[in-house]
Assembly symmetry: C2
Amino acid sequence: MRVGEAGERELIRALLRVINRLNVNLMGYDDVSACSLGDGRALVVKTDSFVESADMLPGMLPEHVGRKLVVMNVSDFAAKGVRPLGMLISLAVPEDREVEYLVRLYEGAEEAALEYGFDILGGDTSRGEELVASGFLFGIQSEDKLVRRSGARVGDYVAVTGPFGSTAVAFSILLRGLEAPSERVKEEALKSVYEPHARLGEGVALAEAGLVTASIDSSDGLAASLHELAESSGVGILVESLPMSKCLLEFCEYHGINPVELALYGGGEEYELVVTVPPESWGEACRVVEGVGGHLHLIGRVVEGRGVRIVLGREVVDVERRGWEHFRGWG
Amino acid sequence: MRVGEAGERELIRALLRVINRLNVNLMGYDDVSACSLGDGRALVVKTDSFVESADMLPGMLPEHVGRKLVVMNVSDFAAKGVRPLGMLISLAVPEDREVEYLVRLYEGAEEAALEYGFDILGGDTSRGEELVASGFLFGIQSEDKLVRRSGARVGDYVAVTGPFGSTAVAFSILLRGLEAPSERVKEEALKSVYEPHARLGEGVALAEAGLVTASIDSSDGLAASLHELAESSGVGILVESLPMSKCLLEFCEYHGINPVELALYGGGEEYELVVTVPPESWGEACRVVEGVGGHLHLIGRVVEGRGVRIVLGREVVDVERRGWEHFRGWG
């Protein structure tokens, strides 16, 4: 079977069957890998890549590529509650690419890294047919502070760190050619994909305080991320309300599109956290997140059963397991 | 300026000027990056990539690609005296590649990792126009045991862990179409590039015993590696003898080629270590390397001045700073 038919999930599962034979990975199938340092601490590592033919959006500058490479990796550390120590960048580059382009890419990466308190320490360059930039992030965290995808329990609240939909608007404008209702909406949408931010402060604060039972970032799209969290934890999720960005609401009103549809399925590359919090910890979790300048939005509850459903008016409907398939993914 | 004109060294130097602003990298411009864990230990990290259009040799199986990806990364840890804890693999893959191909690549990588006592812990898959596999190796070593490129002192012996030339023969056969004098020579040469080995045991043993002043692996070719070591240490190197593989000698005799030329400039992707040892430590260094099943070959001395020279009969000639340019590198 070809990878285009298998899909990314199936491919990853096939590859995971081959590795981890020494069984030292503390995390299983999760957003990061981790191994024990033998003193109660874990070394935590993550790789995520930016591939020009798959991930480059119209209008993206090299600084944006560098920033995005950092943010996509940091966001997974944020979800697991780990502060990065440093990062490497591996580049494959066509021979006719300007050195200046790569310097600007590195500048964007270094600037983003410094925002999150760490440094790009080095990397590797190879000749290649297209630009591929792989980020390798590493850090240390106490083993008992690591937050997994699999810890959600029935009765927990489900919360997110910010409103959804701005990246979906950007993709609609950039890749589907839809018109923006105003320059302001366009700018806000494009900023969300050109200059994304990860919720590192929020994720680390929640993990350090031991207030979340499970966490994942929303980079694969909200619907896919909710499904992943529910499946990993062996529970269901009922979504009761969704915080949506102003830019999404204005865009959808202008075009007569259902904003919930776009927020659930039209986005991705949105680096909010999706966390589960026991009800008795809810107040403290909100205070902890506000203490680092963030906000926690309650969106629903962990329920018995399987899958993800959403309350829409008087109806409760299934949330499908899909995202922005024409832009990302294999199928 | 385009990267094809700049060359890899100039490109790397341009990128290094942008990063490391927090100055936490203990290694400077070296084979690995490292940062202090604050307790006398350093977290050591490395990335090196296999790019299909640049690095794939005729006849290479997917298992070979996986093994090579591991060995090229482990070899740099070997030179710095660091035992790996684990590795991640980031893959960019064309959609029409068979899943089976990638599974076999991962199997080759995992098997090689297990040989060196660690595990592939995870990775990342993206869609891309050609196969790019980036390895990310990590480990822990005492800060004071890390061996740098820059420590060679005048009077030190220069030694290598094995004979040179087999990969040069393989490249001559596979890429230049030269005939092998026998099936045995061909097999030995091809094995050196399809199934390489890194000198991890030797490198770690020498570093743990504190017996080497500087070290580098020979993956960029022997001439280039000697130049790099000399330049980083601010010294000259005089080569007095070169251990050459039987396969190289037979091949060169058959074709009437100078084997020294091919051993110095025709190889690369040869994962021997090049180390400098104070004369008073020489005996112990040999014993330590033999204790892990290896052998240390004395090839010359660290001298005052700059550059690398070699004694050939009654003459002393300059060793040029070049390698296998048609296969590797940018120029």
